[in-house]
Structures are given as C-alpha cells and as structure tokens.
Symmetry: C2
Subunit: 349 residues, 2 copies
C-alpha cells in the first residue's frame, strides 16, 4: 500500500503548508473523508475515522479558516465593536465574551471605537461583514451609537450588550435602573431626606438609565429630586463635583447622600470631600456603581452597586449562539447587587 507516501514532513513544525490532502494521503483516504471527519459527519466508518484522526494528530493539521469561510460563508468568528476598554467594565465584558466565544469554538475580532460615531460604527460593522463574521456584538452605550445601529442592517445577527436601549435589538444588560434604585433605596433607608446624583456624561445611555432609576426611586419615596450633576466617568470630574458639593454644603444646602454614576468618580468625590474637611460617611454618604477591585480599599471602603460584567459578556455570546441556531431570544438582564461597605451611614442626627 502506498499509504505512507506523504513522508516529506513527518512531524513538521517549521515550514507549514499542510493541507487536507496531505492528511488524506497519510490516512489513505480521499480529502473529502478527512473533511467529514474534521466536521464530525456521521457516515464515516469507525476505523476510517480513527485512522484519519491519527493522521491529523501526527501531522498537526489544522484546517485553513479562510478556505472554509469562503465556501461556507462563516468564519466562526464574532466581531466585537466596543469602546473604552481601559475602563474596568468594558474590559471585564471583553474577557467574558472572549472566553465564552472560545468555549463555543468562535474567535473574537475586536474593533475599538474612539467615539461612538456613526461612520466609525458603520465602518467597523462593514469590515466585520467583509470578514464573514458570523455575528456582531456591539458594546457601547452612546446615543450616537444607537442611532448608527438603527441605520445598520447587517446580513448577520447583531446583538447589543449593555446598550441601555433594550428596544433596539436583542440585548443583554445589567439592570441599570434597578441598580440605581437599589442605591437610592439604601440611602433613603438610612434616613437621608434625599439623594443627590452625580451622573455619567449626557451622551451615555447607561448614565441616563441610572438617572431614571434614581429619579423614580426618589419620586416613589416622595423625596425631593435635587439638581442633577454630570461628570465624565473619570476621577477628576468626581473631584470637581466634590468641591462643588462641599461649597454648597457650606452654603447651607442639605446634601447628606450622593449616588455616583461609577466608582472612579466616587473616589474623586470622596477625596474632594475629605480635602474640604467633610467626613464620609459622617457628613455625606456616598454610593458608587460597578464595584471595581479597588473599591474595598478606598477611604472609606466604597458602598457600591456591583455589575457582573463578565457574565454580561458570557450572556452576550449565549444570545449570539441562540440567534445563530435560529432560536428566538428575549432581551436578557443580569441583576445588579448592592454591596454595602463603609462609605454609607445613617444621617447625622
């Protein structure tokens, strides 16, 4: 038998040009049979299958993704459009997504947008489509991005993650409103007459959702709704707002509790309050949002709303898989959890 004629590259690891027919030759079958084995088709004799698998293992063969993508139209890749991966949340979500995608046999291709701009978004999605991705996951939460998404109609499933705009598409979100209400309820429960809110930037849907939750909970409790404050997610804006609030307190305004849109701003805010001679939580209670790993080590340790970002990513992939399998899907929500630490306390009698 001329089965072993493929003896040119036995355990090759330097020059790779292994193709399916190399494996076929070694196993003494046709390339199609190798293809069947690789793809798990049922009608292959057990012995043949084994022989082919051995040949694959011995040669270290991997099917060429491009060829496969060309003929099937699928590259077993998911495209991710995201922003601000330097922030804790998006980074964690990325990890969850990649892990779940890989577990399901998909690769992850990423595009990081500078701003959630229409053109960038469209371009990123177009690129992914040209790459024959099987699905696109969008992880951004600006109004612009949502607008851009509405105009888009890619020929592959598109799922949104943490968009704050559940109506748009199949979406997974952490319940932003629910989280905000948790925070506000906690503070009101401690006896605070009302709760101020330092929100994220106006373009952010997530920020807006948290504002809604904050307002609802206040209204539900019959508490007055103070003027809304805006930051940019970064510590510096929290710091500036802290100074501002301290000034207002000196002016006699009744500020005893602040719900801050994320942990980083909460950090800046608490530092500013300290600098102004105010005690947290003695004078002002502070609640953050996210529960970053550093939060327990802020001074004082930050009470915050935990979002399970990695789970968000995982569910995003689940949603993708469901869509690809043709199953119909409902918007999904990961519930937020309030983590009480030292930055909140009863209102000073």
């Amino acid at each position: 038998m001329s089965t072993e004629t493929a003896g040119t590259a036995p355990a090759g690891h330097a020059t790779r040009a292994l193709v399916m027919s190399d494996v076929a030759a070694r196993a003494g079958v046709s390339h199609q049979t190798v293809s069947r084995v690789v793809n798990g088709h049922p009608n292959v004799a057990a012995m043949t299958r084994e022989r082919v698998q051995r040949a694959i293992a011995e040669l270290g063969y991997r099917p060429n993704t491009a060829a496969r993508a060309l003929v099937t139209g699928s590259s077993r890749t998911i495209g991710l459009v995201t922003i601000n991966v330097n922030q804790y949340g998006p980074a964690q979500t990325l990890i969850g997504l990649e892990e779940a995608a890989r577990a399901a046999g998909y690769s992850l291709s990423v595009a990081i947008l500078d701003a959630g701009e229409f053109a960038d978004m469209r371009d990123a999605v177009d690129r992914f489509v040209a790459q024959s991705v099987d699905a696109v996951v969008v992880h951004t939460a600006s109004f612009q991005a949502v607008e851009a998404l509405r105009e888009l109609d890619p020929p592959v499933p598109l799922v949104a993650v943490q968009m704050g705009a559940e109506e748009v598409r199949p979406t997974v979100t952490v319940g932003q409103e629910a989280g905000a209400r948790l925070a506000v309820a906690h503070l009101l429960g401690l006896g605070h007459r009302t709760v101020h809110h330092l929100a994220g930037p106006a373009y952010s849907l997530e920020a807006q959702r948290r504002v809604q939750g904050w307002r609802c909970e206040l209204l539900a409790a019959g508490a007055p709704v103070p003027e809304l404050l805006h930051g940019d997610w970064w510590p510096g804006s929290g710091h500036r707002t802290g100074r501002l609030l301290a000034q207002r307190i000196r002016d006699g305004e009744d500020v005893t509790a602040v719900f801050v849109g994320n942990d980083q701003m909460a950090l800046g805010l608490m530092v500013a309050l300290h600098e102004e001679g105010l005690d947290v939580p003695g004078d002002v209670s502070v609640v953050g949002f996210d529960d970053v790993p550093e939060a327990p080590y802020f001074s004082p340790p930050l009470t915050t709303v935990r979002q399970d970002f990695a789970e968000l990513g995982r569910r995003g992939v689940e949603l993708v898989l469901a869509k690809l399998a043709g199953r119909d899907t409902l918007p999904d929500q990961v519930p937020p959890v309030l983590v009480v630490r030292g930055s909140t306390g009863p209102v000073r009698g």
Copy 2:
C-alpha cells in the same frame, strides 16, 4: 453597451451578496480590472479607475476577506495573545495595539489566556496560524509563557510586547528595571536608609525585572537589601503586606520606604498602614508602578512610575509592520517616567 445590466441591487443594504463581478458589470470592465483598482495596481487607465471606483462606491462593495486570504495567504489580521485584560496596563496596551493595527489596515483578533500555560499558548498561536494571520503579538509575561514561546516556531512573524525577556524575540518593553531604579533612587534621595519592595507574583517576568532594578539600585547606592515581599498584583495582597509591615515596624524594624510592584497593591498597602495608625508619607513613603488614572486620588496621591502602555501597543504594531516589510528590527524600549505625588517624603528626622 450593456454596461448597466447589473441593475438588480442598486443601493442595496439589506441582502448582501455583492461580489467583484457585480462591480465589474456595473463599470463595464472585467473583474480583474476591479481587482487591480481595489489593490492599487499601477497599470489602470485613469478613466477606468475612476469608473470602477464610482461603481464600488455606488454599490457599497467590500472585497471578501476570506477569498483574498485564501489566495494570498494573508488575512491582514494580527493575532493578539494576552492575559488579564481587566488590569489597567494590558487593557491600555490592547487599545494601543488595536488603534495602530487598524490605522495600518489590519484587524485584530484576540485570544485571552486564563493562565500563561504551554498548551493554551500553543493552541492560541495555532489557531491564529490556521486563520492566516499575518503576525502574532504576544502580551504576557510569565515564565511559562516564555518557555512555550521558545518551543513555538510559527510560520509568521511573532513579536512580544512587555515580556520582560528581551532576548527571546523582537520585543517592545517598558524599561522595567529602569523604572524600578527611578523609584528606588527617588526614595534614597529623600534620605531613606533603604527601600523595601513588594513585588508581583514570582511567575511574572515583569515583576522579576522590577526586583532586579530595585536590587541593583540599592547595591549601587550601598544600601542594605531587605527581604523581598511577594503579592499577586491585587489590592488585597497589598493590604495583607501592609499589615505585615506595620507589625514589623512595631517590632522595631526599620521600614520607612516601600516600592510596590503596581498601583493596586500600593493602594491596599497604604490603606493597611493607615488602619495600623501609620502615616504615609510621614512614617512610610510608598511608590507604586503603572500610574493608573485613580492614582492621583488615592490617599495620599500616589507617587508612581508611569508606563505608557498605549505607546507599547503602538510600537508593537510598528515592529510587526517592520518584520512584515522584511526590515530587521531591534528590541525597542518605551522609557518609564517617575511621577512624584504625595505618598513620598523625606525620612522622619
């Protein structure tokens, strides 16, 4: 002339099956001419080129990446193997990489390893090779990962970023030793007799490099080299070490300056020192590493060594492009910078 016969999908955005010959038909040329225009070949008449470009624009055509990859063997994609993207540094580097890659017309495909294990690393690189990536960038710094890399010999350029093992391959790093020496020199310059060091985990090459820098600088200054302490990069381990050091100080040990392997551990450490009634920088000066965005808002604001992670990513791509262009490359270093804030001060007289 039957130039306009491709009138089926004029401004299509729903069902996409646009291929090169659609464009060719619309422009009244052969598909090869379209290919030439798309790829910028010189021998195309200006008028023809323009006509084709108009057809492309009108139809919204994008060449199919898979088909291109199949024939050229290049997918204009860079594969990134990375770890711990939830940490500030790797996340920033990812951003820098993606941005630079996209600017150069490359996509970025990512694999995030749970641990820098041999099998995982090999698997990730193999997957990338099967995907016809043009190059692989490895961003991890464990000994295991470096070992795995040594065994690997992928048929595409492989560049390492921040590996702490410059000898292995073309590499870009932030000067870890230089950064550590900066920190130690700063503290010694403030009059501290010696500097303790809370290092990152033992498996980390970066951590080891910083240890080397710390030790060298101490030896060069003729200062005693205290026992090395190890953490795991996270705030909790900094906190535990802070308690430990406080105990030692109570026991009479001479600890007035600590150089900590990253900012997160420095945060935990400072908090523990406070809890134990010690003042920073009054009793103990602390220097971190990384300069995370929160560092200016720690209590006290953290003196730290800034690494330009995004620049690292950008240079990584530069190195890739250089390799692809056949240019030979030297290991590259991004210089670290000491940022002095409030956590360091002169030794208490």
